[in-house]
C-alpha cells in the first residue's frame, strides 16, 4: 500500500509541494491509514491549518490523533516533534511546517532522525519545500495534475475532484517501487 511505502518505522519522510498540489490530502491519507489500524498518530501543526471536519470525512479516527498547534512558533513545533519522537508508542508523528518554512539545521534534522530511529516512529514532514535535506530517507514531491469541475464551462456546478502526481526526489534505502504515482481525491 502507498502509505506503507511512504512511511517507514524509524525513518523520516518529507512530503513537499505547493498549495493545492494535494500534499495535505496525502498527509490526511496517512493519518487515516494509521488511525484506522488502531495505532496512534500525532500532528504538530505550525500554521494551525489542519481541518478536523474534512479529516473526519476522509476517515481519520480523530480519537487516535493528537493535535499539537504551535500557532506559528516553529521553534516550539520542533521541540514538540522532538518530544513526541522520543515517546515510543506513536506510530506516526507528522510535522506540518506550512508555507515558506525555514530550512532546518543539519544537526536538528539528524537529531530528529536519530530520535525517530530509537523510538521506531515514522516521522513525516509536510511543507511547501524541502527543509530537512539529507536527513530524509524519502522525499516525495506532489504536484497538481488536474482539477475535475462538474458542469459545463464557466457555469460549472461544483468541484468534483483533483488529481495529484507523486514523484520521488530522494530515496535513501527506501523502496524504489513508489516511482511516480497518481492519486485522485474527491470532494
Amino acid at each position: 500500500m502507498l502509505v506503507d511505502r511512504l512511511l517507514r518505522q524509524g525513518a523520516m519522510t518529507e512530503l513537499v509541494g505547493p498549495l493545492s498540489s494535494g500534499r495535505t490530502s496525502v498527509l490526511t491519507l496517512c493519518l487515516r491509514t494509521i488511525t484506522r489500524r488502531g495505532a496512534l498518530a500525532a500532528l504538530v501543526d505550525v500554521d494551525h491549518a489542519f481541518d478536523p471536519a474534512s479529516a473526519a470525512e476522509a476517515g481519520v479516527d480523530l480519537r487516535r490523533l493528537l493535535w499539537v498547534r504551535s500557532e506559528g512558533r516553529r521553534r516550539d513545533a520542533l521541540r514538540a516533534v522532538d518530544l513526541l519522537a522520543r515517546c515510543p508508542g506513536f506510530t506516526l508523528v507528522a510535522l506540518d511546517v506550512g508555507e515558506s518554512p525555514p530550512r532546518l539545521s543539519l544537526g536538528a534534522a539528524f537529531r530528529l532522525r536519530q530520535a525517530a530511529r530509537r523510538s521506531r516512529i515514522a516521522l513525516l514532514v509536510v511543507g511547501s519545500r524541502r527543509v530537512i535535506g539529507g536527513a530524509a530517507t524519502l522525499s516525495v514531491q506532489t504536484r497538481r495534475e488536474r482539477l475535475a469541475w462538474i458542469g459545463p464551462g464557466l457555469s460549472c456546478r461544483r468541484l468534483g475532484g483533483m488529481r495529484t502526481g507523486l514523484q520521488v526526489v530522494r530515496a535513501q534505502g527506501a523502496p524504489a517501487s513508489l516511482g511516480s504515482r497518481r492519486l485522485w481525491w474527491t470532494t
Binding site: 498527509l27 471536519a53 476522509a58 513526541l84 483533483m162 497518481r182 492519486l183
Partner: protein, 517 residues
C-alpha cells in the same frame, strides 16, 4: 445473623493514633498521644503502644501525660486523617472480600463466605487481611469466628491472627475477661456488682432476665458475650470519591516544602487505589490556608494513573502555575477514579505509549504550547464552518474498527486511469483535504453577475478567478446573538490554487476561508 458461617474482624488498636502515624510514619518510633482541647486543658483521648507502656492512658490531662512520659509527642486529633484511614482500612478489606461492614472506626467485619477456595484456610485469609491493611499503613489484628461478636473478641486477644474453631469457640469466649471489651460505665458497674468476671459468666445468665433488668443495652451485652449476632450485616461499598488529607502543625509557604507533603498524601491515596484495582482519572487538591480560607485546584491527567511520581509532578506544576495566596496549613487530595484496564491493549493492536510516558509527554507539550493547543480534535455537532473543540487526548480508547472504518475501507491509494478521469469518485484515494486559514483572510472580490471574477488583498494576492462553483448558502444560530449566514464558493485562481471563498451575508465581506490541498 447466625447463618453467616465465617466472619473476620479486622481491628486497628488506638485508631486515632494509628491514623496520625499513617500520615507521619516517623511517629511510630515515638510515644504518641492524641489530645483534644487547647493546652493546658487538653486531654488524652488515645495513645499508641509506646505511650501506653509509659503509663499514658485515655483521660489524662496534657500535663499528667507529659509528667509520666517526658518524651511524649502530642498531636491534636485529626478528623480528616481518621476518615481517610477508616476508608483505607475498608478498601483494603474489600480487596479480599466483596462483603465488608464498617462496624466502627478501626473495626471492619469481613464476610469470608466462599473465600476458602480462593485463598485457602482461615489462617491464610487472616494473614492476607493483615497484609492488605499493612499495605495502606495500618497495623491490624484479625480475629475469625462464626459471628461478628465472636470475631471481634478474637481480634482483641491472642495472636495477631486469631482463629476461633467452630467447636471450641464457645469455650474460648467463656474464659475471656469482661474487661477485655469496652462497656458503658453503668453496665461495667452493674457487672461488677453482680460478680461477673468473664464473658462466660454473663452469657450464662438468662437473656430474658438480663433484658428485663438492663433493657436493650443489657440484651446487646448478653448477645456480645454469647457471640451471637442479631443485627443484619450491612455491606459497605466504596464511595465514588476517594480522599486523603493531612493537617500541618506548621505553615508551608514554598512549593519545595509543600511537595513532600503532597507526595505523602498521594502515596497513601495511590496505595489505597492499588488495593482496589482503581486508577486516578481526576484529582482535586484543597489547600487549607493560614488565612482561614482554602485554595482549590483541579487536575485531569491525560491518562488514568496510579503512579505517585507523575501525579506529584503534575500537581506541583499546577500549584506552581496557580500558587496559593498565603501559607498552607493543610492538604486534602480527592481523586475521581476509574477501573483499571485488565490489559493495556488487544493482542493484535499496535503498541501504544505507556500511560506514564504519555502523561509526561502531554504535560511537557502543554507547558510548551499551552493547554488550549494540545488534545484530540472533536468536530462539533453544528453546521457552523470550522466548528470544533479540543478534548484531552486519551490514547484512543475504544473500538479499533467501527462502521466508519468498514465504510471507508482500508485501501489507501487509488490510482488514476481514464475511468477515474471521467468519474472522480471512481477509484479515489480519499477525500480532498482542506487547509484552513485561521482567522479567515479578508479579501476584495470583484464580481460579475453575482459570481466572483477577481480576488485581491493587501498581502499580495491578485488573481483572476479561472473557474468557480457556487454559491452554497448556509446559516445558523439565527435564534441568538451569534447568528451567522454565508455563501461559499469554490474558486480556482490564475495562480493554480483552489480556494474556498466565503461571503458573509450579514456584513457582505469576502474571506478566503480555506485552500484545497
Amino acid at each position: 445473623m447466625d447463618d453467616v458461617s465465617r466472619i473476620a474482624c479486622v481491628r486497628v488498636e488506638a485508631f486515632a493514633a494509628a491514623a496520625l502515624e499513617r500520615c507521619e510514619p516517623s511517629l511510630r518510633e515515638q510515644p504518641l498521644a492524641v489530645v483534644v482541647g487547647t493546652p493546658p486543658a487538653g486531654r488524652v483521648v488515645e495513645a499508641n503502644a509506646r505511650a501506653r507502656a509509659e503509663g499514658v492512658r485515655r483521660g489524662l490531662t496534657d500535663a499528667e501525660a507529659v509528667l509520666r512520659c517526658p518524651s511524649l509527642v502530642r498531636r491534636p486529633a485529626s478528623r480528616e486523617a481518621e476518615a481517610a484511614a477508616r476508608h483505607a482500612l475498608l478498601e483494603a478489606c474489600s480487596s479480599v472480600s466483596p462483603r465488608v461492614e464498617d462496624a466502627a472506626a478501626g473495626i471492619v467485619h469481613v464476610d469470608l463466605g466462599g473465600l476458602g477456595g480462593l485463598f485457602g484456610g482461615d489462617d491464610e485469609i487472616g494473614r492476607r487481611l493483615r497484609r492488605q491493611a499493612r499495605a495502606v499503613g495500618l497495623d491490624a489484628r484479625v480475629g475469625i469466628g462464626t459471628s461478628r461478636a465472636a470475631a471481634e473478641v478474637a481480634a482483641r486477644i491472642g495472636p495477631s491472627v486469631h482463629v476461633l474453631g467452630r467447636a471450641t469457640q464457645r469455650a474460648a469466649l467463656a474464659g475471656v475477661p469482661l474487661a477485655t471489651l469496652e462497656w458503658p460505665d453503668e453496665l461495667s458497674a452493674t457487672f461488677a456488682r453482680w460478680g461477673l468476671v468473664t464473658l462466660g459468666d454473663l452469657a450464662a445468665l438468662p437473656r430474658h432476665g438480663v433484658g428485663l433488668r438492663l433493657g436493650p443495652r443489657g440484651l446487646a451485652a448478653h448477645d456480645r458475650a454469647a457471640g451471637v449476632d442479631r443485627a443484619p450485616f450491612r455491606p459497605w461499598s466504596a464511595p465514588p470519591f476517594w480522599e486523603e488529607a493531612q493537617g500541618l502543625d506548621w505553615e508551608v509557604a514554598t512549593l519545595p516544602a509543600l511537595v513532600p507533603v503532597l507526595q505523602g498524601v498521594l502515596e497513601r491515596l495511590c496505595a489505597r487505589l492499588v488495593r482496589a484495582h482503581l486508577v486516578v482519572d481526576g484529582l482535586e487538591v484543597r489547600l487549607a490556608l493560614a488565612s482561614g480560607g482554602h485554595h482549590a485546584r483541579a487536575l485531569a491527567p491525560a491518562v488514568p494513573l496510579d503512579d505517585v511520581a507523575p501525579l506529584v509532578t503534575l500537581l506541583a506544576l499546577e500549584i506552581e502555575s496557580h500558587p496559593p495566596p498565603t501559607a498552607v496549613t493543610g492538604v486534602a487530595v480527592s481523586a475521581r477514579v476509574v477501573a483499571r484496564r485488565a490489559v493495556p491493549g488487544g493482542l493484535w493492536r499496535p503498541p501504544v505509549p505507556a500511560p506514564r510516558d504519555l502523561a509526561a509527554v502531554l504535560a511537557r507539550l502543554t507547558r510548551l504550547v499551552g493547554s488550549a493547543n494540545v488534545g484530540t480534535p472533536v468536530v462539533a455537532d453544528s453546521h457552523r464552518p470550522d466548528h470544533h473543540t479540543l478534548a484531552p487526548f486519551g490514547g484512543g480508547d475504544g473500538e479499533t474498527d467501527g462502521p466508519a472504518a468498514r465504510r471507508h475501507g482500508d485501501e489507501d491509494a487509488g490510482t488514476t486511469d481514464d475511468s477515474a478521469a471521467r468519474d472522480p469518485s471512481h477509484g479515489a484515494a480519499g477525500r480532498l483535504a482542506l487547509r484552513r486559514l485561521r482567522p479567515p483572510r479578508r479579501v476584495e472580490v470583484d464580481t460579475e453577475d453575482g459570481r466572483p471574477r477577481r480576488v485581491r488583498d493587501t498581502l499580495g494576492i491578485d488573481a483572476v478567478v479561472e473557474l468557480c462553483a457556487g454559491p452554497w448558502r448556509s446559516s445558523g444560530d439565527w435564534w441568538n446573538t451569534a447568528a451567522w449566514a454565508r455563501d461559499e464558493w469554490d474558486v480556482e485562481l490564475s495562480d493554480r490554487t483552489v480556494w474556498r471563498l466565503a461571503q458573509d451575508r450579514l456584513t457582505h465581506a469576502w474571506f478566503l476561508d480555506a485552500v484545497y490541498d
